[in-house]
Amino acid sequence: MPTKKILKTITIHLEKIITDPFIIRGIIAGIAVALVSGLVGCFVVWRRLSYYGESIAHSSLLGAGIGILLGIGINFGVVFVCLIFGILFLWLQQSKSLSSDTLLGVIAHFALAIGIIVISFNKIKIDLHAFLFGDILTVSSADILGMYIGVVIAIILILSNWSSLVLVTLDEDLAKSEGINPLYVNVLLTTIMTIVVALSLQIIGLLLITAMLIIPAATARRLVNSPEAMVIVSTVIGIFSVIFGIYLSVEMDLPSGPSIVVVGSILFFFSHMFGIFLKKE
């Protein structure tokens, strides 16, 4: 009876997951990440902002260091510093003298380097590995509460500005003709990306945050035909990747961030092949 055997193994595994508070906290926190990254990731994909997201993520280490030094907590430090850098990047992107990816590359890696130096101060005891690749074991109940507050703020901000965001994405001048200020929308998007980075740091790790933004949205792209559907599908894909990735990470003792990203990437390749198949039909 192979089916019975499989069911039994699944039950045992499920029991193990459900009874382990670390895993449960990790999954609940991971779902928080997926809820916003699916939403924001669509805009990152539409507007080709992946390098911009990467740059914000790179400055998060400095934020964490400053947060600990000043005693205001890692999350606030990250949001504070990332927001400053995010707006700095936004301003740099307007510059025409050097291409924006060069400027972003300079500033983002400067921020990363300073961040690593700040973190290496003796006073700060921090697990660099966990910061780079994510560690669900570091998630506390208080963290989860903070994360869901961030999630609610980000979702409300996006949904209440939904059509403005989509229109600015399609064409800035067209948006202006409807009385929308593109600068306002860009600052809004930067703020939300900053929140996503702060949220994802513990689960995904700063090196892979951009992957969490892009992969679920890119996976959804081929399967949908409206912006709303893309957001919903990419969120579902994100949640699935998080749950399955964390399960794998616990089961095989892998770092959580890379496991989640690997699961998401496999889904991406499947959807890509499915998309090609659909087109042929």
């Binding site: 994909v45 080709r48 229109l167 994405t169 929308i180 949908v224 035909n225 409206s226 912006p227 893309m230």
Partner: protein, 248 residues
């Protein structure tokens, strides 16, 4: 008559370069104004100032209170990466009622492509969709920035015919940047020739004989314009082919 939009002595300079110098322009009811000029002449900048997207360094721009503007860009910044249907795009962030939506759909002949994805439209379909969107709020002034730039010659003719039909049926004024002067000759009432400053303006016939126009566009263009005013439709079709794409 009170003008709908008036711009007086508009000056714009960016990083030391003069883009617009003492440009004044008035748009009255039922005007059909075409702006022509070489690349970098500040045509798009003038439109931006008139629509209020850009604050000029000096000059006064007055719009009649509650004036409704319709804006049709040349193309969209981003089309390929975002999945969105035509109908959704047209109505996105627009105030409209069902009747005007239906009217616009029929006018611009897009009833068959409403459910299509924006990504797979042909350039001709895309231009009609952009036009439909700009007409949805029943604008008093329609502003078009090189609307037929991406079309082939028959697509251009088709588009300008459509525009002419809409202009004659609706109560609106049109301000358009276009290189395809030979094609809009019939409809346009006033031509403004812009090269950072207004070199000459007037009715198409006058413009064609203006010395400044001749120095800027050469005798060929002036002759082409003259031909278009007198030629009947069959003749004009042949001439289009010999002229090819805009090339000034």
């Amino acid at each position: 008559m009170n003008s709908l939009i008036s711009a007086t002595d508009v000056n714009v300079s960016k990083s030391g370069k003069t883009i617009l110098k003492d440009v004044s322009i008035q748009i009255n009811k039922n005007d059909f104004i075409t702006i022509i000029g070489p690349n970098g002449a500040g045509k798009s900048m003038l439109l931006k100032c008139i629509m209020g997207f850009y604050q000029p360094n000096s000059g006064i721009i007055k719009r009649k209170p509650n004036l409704k503007l319709g804006y049709m860009p040349q193309n969209l910044d981003i089309i390929k990466t975002i999945p969105i249907k035509v109908q959704k795009f047209i109505t996105l962030k627009k105030k409209f009622d069902k009747i005007s939506l239906q009217k616009v759909i029929l006018e611009t002949q897009i009833e068959n492509i409403l459910d299509k994805q924006l990504t797979i439209l042909s350039s001709g379909e895309m231009q009609r969709v952009l036009l439909a969107r700009s007409l949805l709020n029943n604008p008093d002034v329609l502003i078009l920035d090189e609307p037929a730039q991406n079309l082939d010659i028959s697509g251009q003719m088709h588009f300008y015919k459509l525009l002419q039909k809409i202009y004659s049926k609706r109560e609106l004024s049109i301000l358009m940047v276009s290189h395809d002067l030979h094609l809009v000759m019939v409809s346009t009432k006033q031509v403004i020739c812009l090269s950072n400053h207004i070199c000459c303006c007037g009715q198409p016939q006058q413009i064609a004989n203006d010395p400044e126009f001749l120095t800027m566009f050469g005798k060929d263009m002036a002759e082409v314009m003259a031909v278009y005013q007198h030629a009947n439709k069959e003749n004009s079709k042949n001439n289009n082919n010999s002229l090819g794409e805009n090339h000034y």
